[in-house]
């Protein structure tokens, strides 16, 4: 009797374990998981050449959205960046907390020496020293945050290179925040709604306990609009947006004719945001 019960329990336990484990194993071996884990096949090819990191030649495959920010124009038109930030906040229902502890930042201002740690700010020109620089998610081609995320709540969209967030799936472990070398990610330490000044009915807010960041206005691009910050600077040429892999795109024209720098290229993340200083 006792023996039979023990046998029954053993079998039952084993089948429960198998039942729990099987879906995970099936998911792991499915093409989806494999594709996302090796999601940078395109990048892997030239990853072997460290000299090519950042500014070097990138394999032009598919669309890779990127941005060039012209700091000369930002300096000439001081209200410009504030307008872009305000447009970003309004478009994405970003809460405005009074304290830095809870701050949610998609696009924000910081001094050159903070944004470009790898570049010397020793005796930098007056314009560079006094103009606030915009900082935002770099939509890296090889994003460390995506590598770190345990649930694929953040991922690189293969069709356009945007590093996106799925707020429905985020468990709030904040591993991506530790992984991001640009400080581009914010966490909702509490319900953000009371701190949102005005709602955009076309975009959701976020809930407490999830991470968020710039999404390159993926929802606006789908409607054929430009990102909110680009639109806010329209006509000034302060921000140029487009496909980095398309030789004829406007953004490439700018890149081909101007000297640009990127943030922390030595980390191999291949950022998609360029600055003309």
């Amino acid at each position: 009797m006792d023996k039979q019960r023990r046998k029954f329990l053993t079998i039952a336990g084993a089948s429960v374990l198998a039942g729990i484990g099987a879906p995970a194993i099936i998911k792991l071996t499915s093409s989806d998981a494999v594709a996302s884990s090796g999601g940078h096949e395109a990048a892997a090819g030239h990853g072997a050449a460290p000299a090519a990191a950042g500014h070097g030649a990138e394999a032009p495959q598919g669309v890779r959205l990127g941005m060039v920010i012209d700091m000369r124009k930002m300096a000439d038109l001081p209200g410009q960046l504030d307008g872009a930030i305000a447009a970003c906040i309004k478009t994405h229902n970003i809460p405005e907390f009074p304290d830095t502890k809870n701050e949610i930042k998609w696009l924000w201002k910081a001094p050159f020496e903070n944004v470009f740690l790898d570049h010397s700010s020793y005796h930098s020109s007056k314009r560079v020293a006094t103009t606030p620089f915009p900082a935002l998610c770099n939509h890296c081609d090889d994003p460390p945050c995506v590598r770190a995320c345990p649930t694929k709540a953040t991922f690189r969209i293969p069709q356009n290179g945007i590093v996106a967030m799925d707020f429905h799936r985020c468990i709030g472990c904040r591993f991506c925040m530790a992984a991001c070398p640009y400080g581009a990610r914010s966490f909702n330490w509490q319900d953000p709604r009371p701190y949102i000044k005005k709602y955009n009915a076309d975009f959701p807010s976020r809930m407490k306990g999830v991470v968020e960041k710039c999404n390159f206005c993926g929802e606006r691009l789908a409607l054929g609009q430009e990102p909110a910050c680009v639109e806010a600077c329209k006509g000034t040429g302060a921000i140029t947006f487009g496909d980095l892999n398309d030789p004829k795109s406007e953004v490439r024209q700018v890149l081909d004719s101007e000297f640009t720098i990127q943030r922390k290229t030595n980390l191999g993340t291949k950022p998609s945001v360029f600055y003309i200083v």
């Binding site: 998981a33 996302s36 502890k101 345990p150 799936r169 709030g172 591993f175 400080g183 909702n188 191999g268």
Partner: protein, 389 residues
């Protein structure tokens, strides 16, 4: 065997009630945090991991430390550890329980925790951490239980269990290695981006874990009449001293690399942790006392444990030494390592972290839960020992 937890002296029940009180406080604090969000803690955009994750990191080490008993006993057939190996396994179980609770406490959306299994992501170290932690927990429950049952019946344990016992050894190493990899694979966090993190974690784990086991043995000897044996204790002390020295050596190496290369990124966090840093006219030095306490306690403990005082019959200095060492490495890994890594932030700004009372309540609650589990498990282990005597 579980029935052994239901009978005990009044002191046993008072101790459990004492822990239960902290568990209740922790639960209440957690409820507040659950309803409001993690804003209840001192964590911020810039120091996005706090006490919870640092306790988790330290406790993974305590769990892995149990292998310092398993390995000599099962691989080298060091018989003196026969009586206390089970203590190492049971300590590992309760330490992992605490680890898991700390992870849950740290999640912004705990209800979605299973997403890690529903959407398995093999490129995330957190996924592997979950795998090895669950694996190690399972192995320790299995091995501990089967072997203790066999011991109780005075028979040899079944042969198949040895496969799992041997398997638990690489698993112990892997849990702490993978935990180190959570940190040392992140670009842009210079303090963590060091290949010595995993060895350093293991070294401090192999000192702190056994130190806690010695402390438990001393307490069990007084309150439960369980004698681990002088020889076993002395051997453990030797292991602890070497592991602790290695950890201090590794910390020293970090200093060398930082200060000799003079690369600001490598130096900054060390400077912040040990000397405090002045940044834009403000001095940031919250963690300096903790770090020097770590250094002083660690060397003091090593000296004390190496001296003949530690071998005295009354175990007083042995206990003091082990407590000092455990505290030292808790300060090192359970405070300094995680918090120091967030200074400076990626934009070279400094934000300091101070835990809130609510956060401390949750932390105390989780520790109390761990010791509650540990007490019950040790009650079983000691009960079985007494039964066969």
């Amino acid at each position: 065997m579980i029935e052994k937890t239901l009978k005990g002296k009044p002191a046993y029940w008072i101790w459990l009630a004492f822990l239960g009180m902290f568990m209740a406080i922790g639960a209440a604090c957690y409820l507040r945090q659950y309803n409001f969000g993690l804003g209840m803690t001192g964590m911020s955009r810039d120091v996005s991991w706090g006490l919870y994750i640092s306790q988790f990191t330290f406790l993974v080490g305590v769990a892995a430390g149990g292998v310092m008993l398993v390995l000599p006993y099962y691989i080298h057939d060091y018989k003196e550890f026969g009586r206390i190996t089970i203590l190492g396994e049971f300590l590992a179980i309760s330490a992992i329980v605490m680890c898991m609770l700390f992870i849950m406490a740290d999640l912004g959306q705990p209800m979605r925790a299973l997403n890690v299994i529903l959407h398995p992501t093999p490129n995330s170290m957190l996924f592997y951490d979950m795998c090895v932690l669950c694996g190690y927990l399972f192995l320790n429950i299995l091995c501990g239980w089967i072997i203790l049952t066999a011991e109780r019946k005075q028979v040899h344990p079944p042969k198949w269990i040895y496969f799992f016992v041997y398997l638990s050894i690489p698993f112990a190493v892997s849990i702490h290695t993978v935990t180190a990899m959570l940190y040392c694979g992140l670009p842009g966090r210079h303090f963590w981006l060091s290949a010595i993190i995993a060895p350093r974690f293991l070294a401090s784990a192999f000192a702190a874990g056994p130190a806690l086991i010695i402390l438990c043995c001393i307490i069990l000897k007084r309150v439960a009449g369980f004698d681990a044996g002088r020889k076993a204790m002395n051997k453990l002390v030797t292991i602890i001293i070497y592991a602790a020295l290695l950890n201090m050596f590794f910390v020293g190496l970090e200093f060398f690399v930082g200060y000799y290369s003079n690369i600001p990124g490598h130096k900054f966090a060390l400077e912040y942790l040990f000397f405090g840093i002045e940044h834009h006219g403000h001095v940031y030095n919250n963690l300096v006392p903790f770090m020097w306490a770590f250094v002083i306690l660690a060397f003091g403990a090593i000296g004390l444990l190496a001296s003949p005082l530690a071998k005295r019959e009354d175990d007083f200095f042995l206990g003091v030494g082990c407590a000092m060492l455990f505290l030292a490495f808790w300060l090192d890994k359970g405070i300094g390592f995680v918090l120091g890594g967030f200074v400076p932030n990626p934009l070279h700004e400094i934000v300091e972290y101070i835990p809130t009372a609510n956060e401390l309540g949750v932390t105390a609650g989780v520790w109390a839960t761990g010791f509650f589990v540990l007490t019950l498990l040790y009650k079983i282990a000691v009960g079985v020992e007494h039964e066969i005597e």
